[in-house]
């Protein structure tokens, strides 16, 4: 999928990020470790976030381009239909309103039922999630530094709790059965 901005294609944009990262990336070996380790990690995160935003913009363009095509399709349908019926000249009429609704419904329903739209919709949402994931990752890193439980650690606890609840229910049921017998 090509971006609308022809002057700067995807690989060139990635290249800029890579160069920026390399330029800012300080040595982290030996005595430099303590000074630069965290800085380099945050820098990497920042570059990754920008890459995600760039991809989001690309997928978002595709999504809106499909929506625009459906819009023009709907207007085209409307013009065709209103030409065929001279009574529809009065734009305040109820009949005209229903015609507009029908024309737009037809065009957009056809778009929303298509596989291309479902893919584009998922791509946009997926990139939003990637962004959220990166933010989470940065937050987790900070929480580790502050010695506070992270989300993934709490998730482990929740998973164990759910398993324990299930096991407890089985034990309780078994106990009740024995008690009845």
């Amino acid at each position: 999928m090509e971006d609308d901005n022809k002057g700067l294609n995807d690989s060139k944009k990635y290249d800029i990020f890579e160069k920026w990262y390399r330029l800012q990336n300080f040595p982290n070996l030996g005595v430099f470790t303590a000074f630069n380790k965290n800085y380099n990690e945050y820098l990497e995160d920042l570059v990754s976030l920008n890459k995600i935003l760039m991809e989001f913009q690309k997928y978002s363009s595709n999504y809106w381009s499909q929506m625009s095509k459906a819009h023009f399709q709907a207007i085209g349908n409307l013009i065709q239909k209103s030409k065929s019926d001279p009574n529809l000249n009065d734009t305040n009429s109820e009949k005209f309103r229903l015609l507009v609704i029908d024309a737009f419904e037809e065009a957009y329903s056809s778009l929303f039922s298509s596989k291309e739209f479902a893919i584009a919709y998922d791509q946009v949402y997926s990139k939003q999630l990637d962004f959220v994931n990166y933010i989470n990752k940065i937050v987790e890193k900070n929480l580790t530094l502050l010695n506070i439980p992270t989300r993934s650690e709490l998730d482990e606890v929740l998973k164990d709790l759910q398993e324990m609840k299930k096991t407890l229910r089985i034990i309780k049921k078994g106990y009740e059965k024995v008690e009845i017998e």
Partner: protein, 352 residues
């Protein structure tokens, strides 16, 4: 000013007053009451409430009915208003009705699965209903996703079930032509669950808004403006509107199974769906089955629901199709006059 100009001015002024009235109504309409049929809470946990409805007439059926609602939106659609209440109609026919009303999962419930919903929560409620009525078997009655869960339950606990009644069940998703199925097939649900946890209601609103974007999404407001002085129309509009935008989140692991195993891999229809360690085999169902589908259902295609009748082994199985939509099937005058009498008739001959 010409007569035509005067007429136009008059028409516009009337329209604007209706628009103003509509806007005022929409800003205060959320307080409308729903789910008014008297009931008692028999059991309540973090994730469900089991309601028992008080019967206004003498009971004629010895088999209690447990209604299993879906995990999307709220169960009061089955008791929306007195003259359009699915629950009330069944009560008036002399049935003993219980409703499994799901509560909102919190972030703590991210790891709740279909195994928990079916083998723990539904099973607990079935046992409560059995014990309260000294009944060895009950009628399990599901709606939409609740129908699919009822079918899953029946395959594994058939000894507790006398009849299975399903409304618009999600079964063979390979035949589902709805927008929901189209979006679900491409959705990266693994990423969503690992990033956010539970499926947020906003995601569901997004999908609802593209189902019938103009015929329902836009046109309904024009209809409201036109009928703003019709009290009955307005009350009905407000109740449906409240229900449409009242949906809980769905537990992460549950929605992961729903999308991956049911919509993408069609495992329920292939008899390969896993509930914990058990496999759900629809062929094992041999209790009487009544499957109700809506011909104009745009949420679950009728083609997706109908195959349940072929998938089960029940000798006594019936499929009834109605010319209405997903919600019209349970909460409309059409449903009161056409659907419920047939459901009641079918149940009466199998509930004693």
């Amino acid at each position: 000013m010409t007569t035509q100009d005067k007429n136009t001015q008059k028409r516009n002024s009337v329209d604007f007053s209706k628009v103003a009235k509509t806007l005022e109504l929409l800003s205060r309409g959320n307080h409308i009451s729903v789910g008014d049929t008297p009931n008692d809470i028999v059991s309540e946990t973090r994730l469900y409430r089991l309601l028992h409805y008080r019967s206004p007439v003498k009971r004629v059926s010895h088999t209690p009915i447990l209604v299993v609602y879906a995990l999307v939106n709220r169960s009061y659609i089955l008791d929306l208003q007195q003259n359009k209440s699915w629950i009330r109609h069944l009560l008036m026919q002399g049935f003993d009705i219980y409703l499994l009303d799901w509560k909102s999962p919190t972030r703590m419930d991210k790891y709740v699965t279909f195994d928990d919903y079916v083998n723990c929560y539904i099973d607990d409620c079935v046992e409560i209903v059995q014990n309260s009525n000294s009944a060895d078997k009950i009628t399990l009655h599901g709606y939409c996703m609740g129908s699919s869960m009822s079918a899953m339950y029946t395959t594994l606990h058939q000894e507790k079930i006398r009849n299975l009644v399903t409304i618009a069940p999600v079964i063979d998703t390979s035949k589902d032509t709805s927008v929901i199925a189209n979006i679900s097939r491409q959705m990266d649900i693994d990423k969503l669950v690992s990033s956010i946890g539970n499926l947020p209601p906003e995601k569901l609103y997004e999908v609802y808004s593209i189902l019938k974007p103009f015929k329902q999404g836009v046109n309904k407001y024009f209809n409201l403006i036109a009928n703003i002085d019709n009290e009955s129309f307005v009350q009905n509009f407000l109740r449906i509107e409240k229900w449409l935008y009242d949906t809980p989140p769905i537990a992460g692991e549950t929605i992961r199974q729903w999308i991956n195993d049911i919509y993408k891999k069609n495992l329920l229809f292939k008899n390969q769906f896993q509930l914990g360690k058990a496999s759900v085999d629809l062929k094992k169902i041999n209790v009487p089955l009544l499957n109700i589908v809506a011909e104009e259902d745009h949420l679950v295609s009728p083609e997706c629901s109908v195959p349940l009748n072929e998938a089960v082994s029940s000798e006594d199985r019936r499929l009834i199709r109605f010319h209405t939509g997903h919600v019209g099937l349970i909460a409309s005058s059409y449903s009161q006059n056409n659907v419920l009498p047939k459901v009641g008739q079918w149940l009466k001959t199998r509930s004693n």
